[in-house]
């Protein structure tokens, strides 16, 4: 079963890369839209530092953080919730339920393919940015750091995908989930560290920020890569969030499926 699932997954990823590459211009503009927020944030914070603002992190850390943040955000993001909700609402889910392939395997493959296709275009963009800022960028050379970074990226992706399944599953009970999606996107942008490093937020909020799930989506992988010491408890918390959200998503999905009416199929 595992071998069949792996082969099916490979075929689905290949199919999605094919489809994504069919829409090259759309992909390019989508990627270009990811860059302005970190670049503007970087310029704002550099300006603030130049005016004498006291920042709780080193200037080099800030620059490296903002150069990498778009890449990490892209790698851990998931865009499945809207597709899943639509497939439930419009009846397309039926075509997955009558085939021996989970719609979630399709969702994961779709996300992985999207990242592969985007990486091809995004890496050169980030490289250009890094080249422009190379004097202030310091990246670790320890392979253990990069391994930890990779694990943190995977855990962050699981958290985001599980959240997407959870939100998408709401379509079993409500007609419209786009409001919830927008709220999640807003909250995740701030609490994940995508808009600004969590370290720059007020000290009184730091204990709460450290344990909330969105930290493990963007901030934590960058902390693993850029902070002097790797926070071991962070991996435990990230694993805990990933497991808890996956289990909750699985339960909610099953309950939803039990009452599914396959309207539109």
């Amino acid at each position: 079963m595992i071998a069949r699932t792996a082969r099916t997954f490979g075929a689905l990823v290949s199919r999605d890369i094919q489809i994504t590459l069919t829409y090259r211009a759309w992909l390019f503009w989508l990627l270009l839209g990811n860059l302005p927020v970190p670049v503007i944030s970087l310029l704002v914070w550099q300006g603030a530092a130049a005016l004498g603002a006291e920042l709780s992190v080193e200037q080099d850390y800030l620059v490296t953080y903002f150069v990498l943040v778009a890449l990490v955000s892209m790698l851990t993001s998931s865009w499945s919730a809207g597709f899943l909700a639509d497939s439930i609402r419009l009846g397309d889910l039926a075509s997955w339920l009558v085939r021996p392939c989970s719609t979630h395997l399709n969702g994961i493959a779709n996300n992985v393919a999207e990242k592969i296709a985007k990486l091809v275009l995004m890496v050169p963009m980030v490289a250009v940015l890094a080249l422009l800022m190379h004097r202030q960028i310091s990246l670790p050379t320890d392979p253990l750091r990069w391994l930890g970074f990779g694990v943190a990226i995977v855990l962050g992706s699981v958290i985001m995908f599980a959240l997407d399944v959870l939100i998408g599953s709401l379509a079993f009970w409500v007609d419209e989930v786009s409001g919830v999606l927008r709220a999640k996107s807003l909250v995740a942008g701030v609490l994940s560290g995508a808009v600004l490093p969590l370290a720059l937020m007020p000290a009184v909020l730091q204990p709460a920020l450290a344990v909330q799930p969105f930290r493990y989506v963007v901030s934590f992988p960058l902390e693993v890569l850029l902070l002097p010491t790797i926070p071991g408890s962070g991996f435990a918390l990230a694993t805990g969030w990933a497991a808890a959200l996956s289990a909750t998503a699985a339960v909610v999905w099953r309950i939803g499926l039990r009452g599914y009416q396959a309207a539109g199929a």
Binding site: M1, T8, A11, Q18, G91, A94, L97, P100, Q261, A265
Partner: protein
């Protein structure tokens, strides 16, 4: 001819067995307008609709069964329960020895579903890529896959269609590709929900001929729903008539037609206006007179021979045609006999 598409049927098995199968849907009711929407926000009124009630059905291996009924009668809900899409509210259901709603690999590997109004193909890719994906999903070896694709391409005359993005295909071409996809893994049981909807006469014929051949040569059992009575007549030796979620008839189509419209129809064309006897012979009713020299009659079967002899005495006959009632008219008569409004099946709760 279709050796690669073996369905591995087990003679003697019952393909579908359901007893007292029931499905109720719960939905909320909302009054129209802004006030109704606001009221629904504060207090929702729920209703329960009976979609299928106490359905008993057995299907033998290799059997083709047509589910008939008007829109909303419960046909599609029945198919959705049989293929595991929705869970029954009550009753027993076994399909190919499995409980469909568990959707095990063993079960899904043996069934296939064609939705006339929903594509199973990937819109942006050539149909061949969809076939490749199904190869992985259904765990087919390369040789099984190549052989099946070759045979399906030949039978459905797919030619170059498999290499064209699906969105560029006509509806008829797409349906042929849908059939190839559905049959690739040689299912033992095929659910076809309105497979010819929207197709022209030639397209319909290709689909019917193919399904008939799959049934005869592979022994694939087929459950078909269609509002096109020509589909049903061409494919289904057995029909099950469902109305308001309950089974109203289970038998062959001829039996249904005879029980509802027992009279034969006769169209007689004379050289001039015929001289009809007064009174008319027993068992004869004039139902129409499309032209002064043309008579349209309904004749009781038992009097048919006598009437055939008598007709030549009414005037010189140019043409004579005797038929059973048109199937669409039969269905109209069937539905006319059922009450339109559902009252006992619905309940309401706040």
């Amino acid at each position: 001819m279709m050796s690669a598409l073996s369905t591995r049927s087990h003679p003697g098995d019952v393909v579908v067995r359901c007893r007292d199968l029931t499905k109720h849907f719960r939905y909320h009711e909302q009054q129209p307008g802004l006030a109704g929407t606001v009221r629904a926000l504060l207090r929702r009124r729920h209703r329960t609709r009976v979609a299928v009630e106490g359905l008993d059905l057995d299907l033998a291996p290799g059997e083709v069964c047509g589910l008939l009924g008007r829109n909303g009668a419960g046909k599609t809900t029945t198919i959705k329960m049989l293929c595991g899409l929705i869970q029954p509210t009550a009753g027993e259901l076994s399909v190919l020895g499995e409980r469909p709603s568990r959707r095990s690999f063993t079960f899904l590997r043996q069934i296939s579903v064609i939705f006339g109004q929903k594509s199973m193909l990937w819109w942006d890719l050539p149909a061949y890529d969809s076939l490749l994906l199904h190869r992985r999903m259904y765990d087919l070896s390369r040789s099984e896959f190549d052989l099946a694709v070759g045979q399906l391409s030949e039978l459905l005359e797919l030619g170059d269609l498999l290499s064209i993005p699906v969105r560029r295909l006509s509806l008829g071409q797409r349906m042929r590709c849908e059939l190839a996809l559905a049959l690739l893994h040689s299912p033992r049981l095929l659910f076809a929900d309105e497979p010819t909807i929207g197709l022209d006469v030639l397209g319909k014929r290709v689909i019917r001929d193919f399904l008939a051949r799959v049934n005869v040569e592979l022994g694939t059992s087929i459950v078909l729903t269609s509002h096109d009575m020509d589909d049903v007549a061409a494919l289904c030796p057995r029909v099950v008539l469902i109305d308001h979620g309950t089974k109203r008839y289970d038998g062959d189509l001829t039996g249904l037609a005879r029980s509802v419209r027992p009279a034969k129809q006769m169209m007689v064309t004379f050289t001039a206006e015929p001289q009809l006897p007064d009174p008319l012979p027993p068992g004869v009713t004039v139902v129409g007179r499309p032209a002064p020299d043309v008579l349209q009659l309904d004749i009781d079967r038992e009097w048919l021979a006598e009437v055939l002899t008598a007709v030549s005495g009414w005037g010189p006959v140019v043409d004579l045609e005797v038929t059973d009632a048109d199937l669409d008219e039969v269905m109209v008569s069937v539905f006319d006999g059922f009450p339109e409004q559902r009252s006992p099946g619905e309940s309401r709760s706040a």
